[in-house]
């Protein structure tokens, strides 16, 4: 009896395999192509592009949603949901023509009403989104016909177009938190919490030149950074971004390694509202106490670019290289500042670090060691990503943390806006009246030079006030199985899966 059932089982298996193989042979290889990409964190916040706060979430949503315009890998803004746009000469009225035949993942066509609905969502003061302040400049958003959207501004803003990368979603989607419908090259299929997220290429994607080439994408959550190399070498994932140089050195020959920048502001972020970090002298003392190059040498094999304010070099004209050395390592000066602030014997604080990001954990360890020289004891508190988001980022219940902050838009404002006293993303509780003034000046400025100057003033204030201890824009090492090709870096913290293809 047992033998019989075994034989039956075998024959069933064999038949299935035969059928499956036959099916494969018939298909084009491209259609059955798939890739498994490791990601350090699950989507914990929201599938709603407006509510998503984690950089790790946004880099995935980049493939699902698009705005009227979309950034490319060179930092240009190209028309996406809109096929073309015009801006009146004084820079106040933007007119967008919706692309012909562009469809949402659910098959419905994108109408001007959807665009108006989506932008109004961002503009809503109640949304709490970082864009709300930029969008407060909007006088009206109207749809003269099904294919046209007109946006009128109160004041011209040279940076405004970059904000229109804000995702367009269908007005009919009642629950964007859990139902992801966009116009991007990949559509959302499913998610198993802490396990994986499945994406599938969108056959009716409008941009045939940049159409997705790999059909199925599995994003596998690997919360334990220690197992990444094993998973890559073992073949259970084909790609992983932001590896450390040590991890890369252990990869097998099956991987191509791409080197770029992460486009992050990595810093020891200090909660400016709690003792002792409410004293600017203490914050400055920490800046003098640490040695950025030492951190790079110790934990990053010397790779990475040192920064001195909340801006990274990819931003070009907004970036201020002179701030990199605003606080040269000077233990004596740090001690003197601490003594002046009333901590002659130093103090003890804790650095809360998300344990799934090995580079930040390593950085925190080196920082703790460096701070000993000035008598400051830093205890490291490793937490899970979900508790980091809720306690540190949203709850602001922390003393210090090591993390990298990204820019969601190709605009200096995207990085600097979070330092506004009342910004929702101001998790370091930075509070400076002169900063708010400078930021307002930058965002309302029409003339490009003035705007740049004001943004630079903002960076200068952040540096002078030592809002946090700025460290570096980390090097981004991406491992991709050499079966695949086509990884491209963006000047933003995003992953473009549509460019990946089989060799």
């Amino acid at each position: 009896m047992k033998k019989k059932s075994l034989a039956l089982l075998l024959s069933v298996v064999l038949t299935t395999v035969a059928v499956a193989l036959g099916g494969c042979a018939g298909d084009k290889q491209e259609e059955s192509s798939q890739i498994t990409i490791g990601i350090p964190q699950d989507i914990e916040d929201s599938l709603d592009p407006m509510k998503a706060t984690a950089a790790g979430t946004k880099e995935i949503l980049f493939n699902i949603y698009e705005g009227l315009v979309k950034p490319d890998s060179d930092g240009n803004l190209n028309p996406a949901v809109a096929s073309e746009y015009t801006i009146t000469e004084e820079g106040k009225v933007y007119t967008f023509t919706i692309r012909d035949g562009i469809k949402f993942h659910d098959g419905s066509e994108v109408t001007a009403d959807d665009v108006v609905y989506s932008l109004n969502r961002y503009a809503d003061e109640q949304s709490g989104d970082a864009l709300a302040s930029a969008f407060s400049n909007i006088q009206s958003i109207t749809a003269p016909d099904r294919k046209t959207v007109t946006i009128t501004l109160n004041e011209p803003n040279a940076d405004f177009l970059s904000y229109l990368t804000a995702s367009v979603i269908p007005a009919s989607n009642a629950d964007p938190d859990t139902v992801a419908i966009g116009t991007g090259p990949y559509k959302y299929v499913s998610r198993s919490p802490q396990e994986n997220i499945i994406l599938e290429s969108f056959d009716e994607y409008w941009d045939k030149d940049n159409a997705p080439q790999i059909k199925n994408i599995t994003l596998k959550v690997i919360a334990n950074a220690d197992t990444i190399v094993t998973e890559l070498n073992g073949g259970s994932i084909d790609m992983f971004c932001r590896l450390s140089s040590t991890q890369v050195s252990q990869l097998s020959d099956n991987f191509d390694v791409y080197t770029g920048t992460m486009n992050l502001v990595q810093a020891l972020y200090l909660n400016n509202a709690v003792e002792p970090f409410n004293d600017v002298r203490v914050r400055q003392a920490l800046c003098y106490a640490i040695d950025q190059q030492g951190i790079l040498d110790m934990a990053f094999d010397g790779q990475g670019s040192i920064i001195g304010s909340a801006m990274y070099p990819t931003f070009g004209k907004y970036y201020m290289p002179e701030l990199e050395n605003a606080y040269p390592t000077d233990v004596e000066k740090a001690k003197a500042l601490l003594a002046e602030a009333g901590y002659p014997d130093g103090f003890t604080f804790s650095i809360t670090v998300p344990s799934n990001y090995q580079p930040h954990v390593d950085t925190a360890q080196v920082l703790a060691e460096q701070l000993k020289a000035v008598g400051v004891t830093a205890n490291i508190n490793l937490v899970e990503w979900a508790s980091w988001l809720s306690d540190v980022y949203s709850g602001r219940q922390y003393e210090a943390t090591v993390i990298g902050v990204d820019a969601s838009m190709l605009s200096a404002g995207a990085l600097l806006d979070r330092y506004r006293s009342d910004a929702s993303g101001n998790f370091m509780n930075f509070n400076s009246a002169s900063y708010d003034v400078a930021l307002d000046a930058a965002e309302s400025s029409i003339v490009d030079e003035e705007k740049t100057a004001s943004f630079k003033e903002c960076e200068q204030i952040i540096s002078d006030e030592a809002a946090s201890v700025y460290i570096q824009d980390m090097v981004n090492l991406v491992a991709l199985n050499n079966k695949y090709d086509g990884y491209v870096f963006y000047p933003l913290y995003v992953q473009d899966f549509a460019k990946l293809h089989l060799k």
Binding site: V229, T246, Q250, D297, M298, A364, L382
Partner: protein, 262 residues
């Protein structure tokens, strides 16, 4: 007789191994070859050498020094855990075993519920509520170890409470608590001691497991489990990083087990 001699041999071997390791842990209080937290970029992942008998880790910290302090952390946690477990377990077990009745029923059913969960799982839940760190791990594991001690002591006390010497003591007018703690408990001691040794090993493993999962001891503190976890990323490039903490962990458990088999 031969069995007995063999057992003595095991005990001696175990005592020697455990003794050496304990000495290393104690020594680390006063002296380690290097500062266990001192980073040195020049000797990152340096191999085994005379200067660094166990090599260096990814921050150039001397692994021997870290193993010594890590061993101390691990031993302190294990002793603390077993101490809490045995102390409260003995009290609960002897009271319930001696008095019996409804009180016994209630306490032991709660105890059974706790026993039904693996100790480490209970500790995991507690640590995620209390937060990590050495002392919370001791507390969490200690509480998780109470039920098994309570059950074991209760059985022993129940067995002893109707023996003649206990009846005798009671007839002489000794109060209940005196009977329990002065007459019964000392006679249960050998059983408690041997389960303390087994419990010690379980605690070492539990701590290593928790630190390995990243919720026990926090960096830059060293513990053997924490070191194993950190070494995992360097298994291919610097196998000594994982090898030595692992080896010491195995030796510690081997030594104590050999002693416990006696």
């Amino acid at each position: 007789m031969r069995e007995f001699i063999k057992a003595r041999k095991n005990f001696k071997a175990g005592a020697i191994i455990a003794g050496i390791l304990l000495f290393m842990a104690l020594l680390s209080l006063f002296w380690t070859p290097y500062d266990p937290e001192k980073m040195d970029a020049a000797s990152k992942l340096a191999g085994v050498s005379l200067a660094h008998p166990m090599g260096c880790d990814n921050f150039g910290r001397d692994i021997l020094s870290r193993v010594m302090t890590g061993l101390r952390t691990t031993v302190v946690i294990a002793v603390g855990t077993v101490g809490i477990g045995a102390f409260f377990g003995s009290i609960i077990g002897s009271l319930t075993g001696y008095f019996g009745g409804t009180f016994d029923e209630i306490v032991m059913r709660v105890n059974d519920v706790l026993l039904a969960f693996p100790a480490v799982l209970l500790a995991l839940v507690m640590v995620s509520l209390l937060g990590g760190g050495k002392y919370n791990v001791i507390l969490a594991l200690g509480i998780a170890f109470v039920p098994s001690f309570a059950r074991m002591v209760r059985g022993e006390v129940m067995r002893c409470k109707d023996l003649d010497y206990v009846k005798n003591a009671r007839l002489q007018g000794a109060r209940d608590l005196r009977v329990i703690f002065v007459h019964i408990l000392p006679n249960v001691m050998p059983v408690i001691l041997s389960s303390v040794l087994i419990g010690f090993n379980n605690a070492v493993l539990a701590e290593a497991g928790m630190s390995y999962l990243g919720i026990g001891v926090q960096p830059p503190d060293a513990s053997l489990g924490r070191m194993l976890s950190e070494a995992q990323g360097y298994l291919y490039g610097a196998p000594w990083y994982a090898l030595f903490p692992g080896l010491i962990l195995v030796l510690l458990i081997l030594g104590v087990s050999l002693m416990g088999n006696e």
